[in-house]
């Protein structure tokens, strides 16, 4: 049922699935997917901000740079995003074209 046929790729563009809602919490946010009825915990406020900004960038790495996340921490963020993509909370932007780079 996953809409993602290929493994997570940080060079591609992603966005939050339209059926996912985020609820702010002290630790970050709770994310609920109305489609597959799963709940996920986003365990850092930076991760929440990043997820919300993804659709403005042509790739995940571009979003990391824009958010000024230390490159040494990129692998752990990638892992978190890959897990979100695996459960369909994140989907690849249409046809791999990506979204426009934010001004």
């Amino acid at each position: 049922m996953t809409s993602l046929a290929v493994p997570f790729d940080a060079d591609r563009a992603y966005r939050l699935h339209e059926q996912v809602a985020l609820r702010p919490e002290p630790f970050g946010a709770l994310a609920y997917h109305y489609g597959n009825r799963r709940l996920n915990f986003l365990r850092a406020k930076e991760l929440v901000a990043l997820v919300e900004s993804l659709d403005a960038y042509e790739s995940v790495r571009a979003a990391f740079s824009a958010a000024e996340i230390d490159p040494r921490r990129w692998p752990s963020f990638e892992k978190a995003l890959a897990s979100l993509a695996a459960s369909d909370f994140l989907v690849g932007a249409a046809d791999g074209e990506g979204a426009e780079v934010a001004a």
């Binding site: 109305y34 009825r37 709940l39 365990r43 752990s76």
Partner: protein, 391 residues
């Protein structure tokens, strides 16, 4: 720093937490300290029921004349929307008996609150199944307690198996994929666990197994129905082999048998879950409908939010709990002392062992105490177990 979304809850019921292998102790502590709003909550819309199951946790049967009105229910849903409660589990009683049931489901969905409702199937005909299949925001849970009519009807009453099967047939015909088949695990049906799985696969449904608690009429049927020690072990291994089966995180007391079962493995009562009953009273969890665990009412000033955020009961449950009699046991981290409701209704102190402690501490504790009185009884008639199934 390791970042992981890690925890996934495929069904945020009190107890339905599915964890990734990543260690989440920090998160568990945050859950214990409570959230500003519940992850989800159970709402028993009515005590009216066309069945009178011998293990009913709310002793349902008769409607309570003080039931929340349609307008009051809508106001609660508005409040849940403001608090961003993603999802409610509606139960009863048999919720579909309420004349405004489908209206309230639609009202919730229209206000961004997803619905899963539990039913014995009597309200699911072909037309209803078609409508349900068309909605992404409504999930259905069919309750059965035996893989055959004899075992099921012994607990749920004559004809109830056929009713549930017919509802599942309708759901399948309508193309509703992934509805839930919910089974309370008892001494009689644990041997049928593979048959339940086959049934779920047959209907394209998801199997959900939950723990039998001595709550409501379950207190009266506990001695006959609760699993044996050997069955608890078998179930633990079966669950470890079937991580895709939902459990509502309700078997965390079994984690003392070895590797922890998937889930948060903690009691979410008053911390991440709670229950609203048909008259608007708010309890810590669906299994403790008793004054001792009554936090307040949605009818009082401040409504549900004030009860959730400020009630003395919930505030107390969010404080660090004493391991009590279990402090010296090496398995406390795994089982957390077990289920509050199971202890309370078997007369064991809340800091004592679970009555079904897999190390046997519960039996000794029960021997030495008197059982607690049960909560309010809504039964229409005196309920007794049917003929015991053969074998």
């Amino acid at each position: 720093m390791t970042l992981s979304t890690g925890l996934q809850i495929s069904e945020p019921t009190p107890d339905n937490l599915v964890l990734s292998p990543v260690k989440q102790s920090g998160l568990a502590d945050q859950m214990k300290a409570g959230l500003d709003a519940p992850i989800c909550l159970t709402w028993e819309l009515t005590y009216a029921c066309n069945l009178q199951c011998v293990h009913c946790l709310s002793s349902s049967g008769r409607r309570d004349p003080r039931e929340l009105t349609t307008e009051e229910c809508e106001a609660v849903i508005d409040e849940l929307q403001r608090m961003q409660v993603f999802y409610i589990n509606i139960g009863g009683g048999e919720p579909t008996i309420r004349k405004d049931f489908w209206h309230l489901v639609q009202y919730a969905v229209d206000h961004g609150v997803g619905v899963k409702f539990s039913t014995n199937g009597s309200g699911i005909d072909a037309a209803v199944a078609e409508q349900l299949a068309a909605s992404d925001y409504v999930d259905v849970q069919i309750s059965i307690d035996g893989a055959d009519a004899e075992t099921n009807d012994h607990v749920r009453g004559a004809g109830s198996f056929a009713t549930a099967v017919q509802a599942m047939e309708h759901l399948r015909s309508a193309g509703f994929e992934g509805f839930k088949i919910s089974v309370v695990m008892t001494r009689h049906n644990i041997p049928q666990v593979d048959a339940f799985k086959a049934m779920a696969d047959h209907y394209g449904a998801q199997l959900r197994l939950t723990r039998f608690r001595p709550s409501g009429r379950g207190a009266d049927s506990w001695d006959e129905l609760h699993p044996t020690d050997q069955q608890q072990r078998e179930l633990y291994h079966w669950l470890m082999d079937h991580p895709d089966v939902l459990t509502g995180d309700s078997f965390f007391h079994l984690s003392a048998l070895g590797e922890a079962l998937p889930g948060l493995n903690l009691c979410g009562a008053g911390r991440v879950v709670c229950l609203i009953d048909p008259v608007g009273d708010v309890y810590a969890c669906p299994f403790v409908l008793h004054d001792e665990f009554l936090a307040g009412s949605v009818r009082n000033e401040g409504g549900f939010q004030k009860v959730w955020q400020e009630s003395d009961l919930f505030t107390g449950l969010r404080e660090p709990q004493s391991a009590g009699a279990c402090a010296s046991c090496g398995h406390f981290d795994a089982c957390q002392g077990g289920c509050m409701a199971a202890k309370f209704f078997t007369g064991i102190p809340l800091d004592g062992p679970d009555p079904e402690c897999v190390l046997g501490h519960g039996e000794t504790a029960m021997d030495s105490v008197a059982r607690a009185e049960v909560g309010t009884d809504h039964s229409r008639t005196k309920v007794t177990l049917g003929t015991k199934p053969a074998g």
